[in-house]
Every structure is written in C-alpha cells, then in structure tokens.
C-alpha cells in the first residue's frame, strides 16, 4: 500500500514538473511568428480578456 501511495505521489510530482517545464518553455504566437524586421513588445491583452494571465 505504501508503494502505491508513493507511486501516485511520484506521478503527481512528475506531472507537476512536466507542467512547469513545458509551460516555461512555451512560446507565444507573437514570438514564434515574428521576423527580425518586427519590433514586437508586449502584444497587449486584447482578445483574451484583461484578466488573462498568460496561462491556459
């Protein structure tokens, strides 16, 4: 039983780690689709709502 709990905890921890790493490595569309000629700063919060945190 101890092993099962340990495995579930480990699965959750690894999932959280994957979430942190993948979300950290995430690129936004304005970074991905800008050329060197474009000066893209903060693209604004429009179309995702002012409360959009940059997540989800």
């Amino acid at each position: 039983m101890k092993t099962i709990v340990l495995a579930v905890v480990a699965a959750l921890a690894l999932g959280a780690l994957a979430a942190a790493l993948l979300t950290g490595a995430q690129r936004t569309a304005y970074q991905a689709y800008a050329t060197s000629g474009a000066r893209v700063s903060e693209p604004g919060h429009n179309l995702v709502g002012p409360t959009w945190s940059g997540e989800n």
Partner: protein, 198 residues
Amino acid sequence: MARMKFLCDADRCIECNACVTACKNEHEVPWGINRRRVVTLNDGKPGERSISMACMHCTDAPCAAVCPVNCFYTTADAVVLHSKDLCIGCGYCFYACPFGAPQYPRVGNFGSRGKMDKCTYCAGGPEADLGTAEYEKYGSNRLAEGKLPLCAEMCSTKALLAGDGEIIAQIYKERVVRRGYGSGAWGWKTAYRETVAI
C-alpha cells in the same frame, strides 16, 4: 433569411494584404494571430493567384462537429462563432478546418496553448452585443452595427466580397460573364457544399 458568406475573386486579388491589416486593426488582434491571411498559389509562375482566406463560416461546420466541449454555435446569419470561456485549446478544430482558420495565442506545447481565436465575421461572440467584454475577447461587432466585415468593405480592388451569399454570388457571376473568365469561388464547395455555376 440572408446567409453570410465570404467570396474572394482571385482574379482581382492583388495580394496587398490590406484585408489582413484591416482585420488586425479593427479587432486589435495580437501579433502572431492571423484571422485572415492571403495565400498566393503558383507564386511567380503563370497562373499565379492570390486568395484572401479566413474562416468561411461553413454550413455544417467541421470545427463545431469535432469540438470536444461543443463551444461553437451558429447564428441565424449562419456565422460560426465560439465561446472562449468554454474553449479548452485542444486544437481539434484546426485539424478539422479545411481552411486553417483557428489560431492559438501560444504555439509550443499542446498543454497550454490558450483559447482559440478565429474570424468572427465581425460579429463578436456570445457576450452582449457591442459591450466591452465582447470586444476584449472577440473584437468588434460590425454586423450588429449594420455593417459588413471590414476586410471586405475596404478591399481596394473589390476582390473580397462579404454579405448575403445570394447577392455576392450574383455580383461575382455577373463579373465573370462580363469579363469572360473566372477562377471560381475559392472554397465554396468545401465550405457550403453548393455548386457555383462558374
């Protein structure tokens, strides 16, 4: 009842990308998200054609069918809209869409790519018409103002037509008859399953 459609007269489109720019400006679309784009076929070769493409607002829309949370709905104008509150950003609509219309604010991993954004036919979203909440999520609602999508309204060569499908098809047919040629209404068979007699 009027059925909204887009029609790009490829014999007139000069790839000026003004429709793209107008769309971006009208709805304050962030960089990297292209609700409308101009694709050039046979670039630099004989028979080159440029087509301005966005969401075609299909009859029996594939995006709406495959959505795992059913976030799409069709208005009485046959405009296909979606709710960003329900969207989970799974990307299935992009797989199903024949025209590549859905866009995502983040591109790297599937897990956190954000809410899908696409052409609204300048008709906003499920929030109250012409409100701030609607504008912030979906852009302006020109249809509610008694106007048509800006991309079509400001097209300098009158290549991009929008509005009642029957009227714009009529305009296009008469153009083709008059000038004696036409490369067809791009995407109409895929989007509307109708035979355009040209």
